[in-house]
Symmetry: C2
Subunit: 330 residues, 2 copies
DNA sequence: TTGAAAGCGCTAACAT
DNA sequence: ATGTTAGCGCTTTCAA
């Protein structure tokens, strides 16, 4: 691999001149620049990125850290962050936090391989976040509340979402509402559940423990939880799935059992994944403002990177998307 | 930011000793190591990634380059590559080629910020690929055929896929088959179309130009192309959408026009996206071996990285997924 | 306008 | 077992 040294030698100029010439510095004469560029072309020279980063001690890159790069769930979020990065002429890389301590995400965060990061990965520990973030390394956290130097929170009001979903069901005349929950350690799930409880309490309704089942936020889990509910005999009049993936699995179980949605049972989800409007019936759900929150997260990060002060906490409102999986209960 | 120098000073040892201690080299005494580690902790020391990469002149990271990070389409592929990377203890980062010459992808490729790459981004030019790849920088290209030093091709047999889809329709008694195509400059689309033509020719069937419409591989395009077809009056008995996204749009147009699938018109797609089996009717389509191809691409890259010789061309077979959108034509 | 040289933070060969 | 030192490839200050 040719280095700038080789280029300088071939062009017959000093190292520094070659550097100036190639970075387009105006103090290099046109003739010299041409000589250098020609030499670079001839040697197929490509600058070494790290050397530059090391020297400059900044990378012009931010990282988006996700639990699993392959989650289709994030697409809008990614798109919005990508847009913001592009318009700020920053590079964006995405990396996964799978692999625990040795994950790519952890390395990039700790070894400061980027200038800042947006994190949406519950398996990145709070300690790690505290260790990584700092005045010179801003991190926007999107899946929990955590304060500290360099840390900015952008979250969606899940409690309100859980409340809205439940309240909507109650409004439609449902009094027995099951809650299919996500993983116990999920902060998001906890909030959605709290919202559910608040709406229930407000309406003077009691939660039945036999109708609180865990589906772990995955399709298969929703399927199993629903099977379990089915076996119990008595059915609620509506089910609140804490996310759409579980609702997808649940509706499959329901269909298999001959329970018709929404005639026999109303269903509501959470997230508004792409699939939601293609299900039969079309799934009524809670929509998270993914594009907006990603966009906000990006903007805040860049503001911090530019030295501007920003608040360290933002909470976004959530919207109910009314489709056809909930029926008035009479 | 504390450097290793600060750590060494605080611990009262030499730079190199600190380095050895922290990398777990066995020749450092336990006592010294403890001293160094304590100092590091106290200073909240984190190693600088670039400095290390620069010194080592390798990054232990590979890049996955995609046109658009947010495409849900790739999830299985990403997962498989992630798995392979993890099991080889390499880091994986994903970056987008959006942004043309200044895209993150181009920078990472050219500036050698990773040890190798897997590319599935048609907007990365052939020239760039040639410039970037080399003996010390392997690139696996997944969306076209291109040979050169350091370049490995892993492609899916789209021609065969196009043939299978069409042949299947013919087998079911369809003789008038429309082809809704992708973008003209897409290599993949060209292959699928070739397969279509081969099957048609083989059956002694003629392609009707009025039934070859372009939908640009996107949902909206499929919708419009289908509308256009509808306006023309005469309908074929089956439609081959060159990808599922277009089929989704197309089926919407058909539904709006009161054309029932598959009773009035059979439909086949290509890709087997997640949505396919949730459509009404469930979409019969051609499944690309995404997991397998990603996995293969990853393995090949690592073999090259380890200095092993590998072939530079692999073509994977494709499978037809029979669902309910095609009916026997009588 | 060009060149010489320092130094970013780290690893590793070599000397002790 | 520990220390000294060269050098990875680049940018940039300073001197010519």
């Amino acid at each position: 691999m040719a280095t700038i040294k080789d280029v300088a030698k071939l062009a017959g100029v000093a190292l520094s001149t070659a550097s100036y010439a190639m970075s387009g510095d105006s103090k290099v004469s046109a003739k010299t620049r041409e000589k250098v560029l020609a030499a670079a072309r001839q040697l197929n020279y490509q600058k070494n990125g790290f050397a530059m980063d090391l020297k400059r001690s900044r990378t012009n890159t931010i990282a988006l850290i996700l639990t699993d790069l392959s989650g289709p769930y994030y697409s809008e979020l990614i798109r919005s962050i990508q847009d913001v990065a592009l318009s700020n002429s920053y590079d964006l890389i995405a990396c996964s936090s799978m692999g625990g301590k040795d994950s790519t995400a952890v390395r990039y965060l700790l070894e400061k391989r980027v200038d800042g990061a947006i994190v949406l990965a519950h398996n990145i520990t709070v300690d790690l976040l505290h260790a990584a973030a700092g005045a010179r390394f801003p991190i926007v956290v999107m899946d929990r509340l955590i304060s500290g130097e360099g840390l900015i929170n952008v979250v969606v009001d899940s409690e309100q979402g859980g409340y809205s979903a439940t309240h909507y069901l109650i409004e439609k005349g449902h009094h027995s509402i099951a809650y299919i929950s996500g993983p116990a350690n999920s902060y998001d799930n906890a909030l959605r559940y709290q919202g559910y409880l608040r709406a229930m309490r407000e309406a003077g309704l009691n939660e039945k423990t036999k109708w609180k089942l865990s589906g772990n936020f995955v399709r298969e889990g929703g399927y199993k939880a629903t099977k379990m509910m089915l076996v119990q005999g008595e059915l609620p009049s509506a089910v609140f799935y804490a996310n759409d993936e579980m609702a997808v699995g649940g509706m499959k179980a329901l269909e298999e059992a001959g329970v018709s949605v929404p005639d026999d049972l109303s269903v509501i989800g959470f997230d508004d994944i792409q699939l939601a409007e293609y299900l039969q019936p079309r799934l009524t759900t809670i929509r998270q403002p993914m594009y907006e929150s990603g966009s906000l997260a990006g903007h805040l990060l860049f503001q911090r990177l530019n030295g501007d002060e920003v608040n360290d906490f933002y909470k976004l409102k959530i919207e109910l998307i009314e489709r056809s999986s909930v029926k008035i209960n009479s």
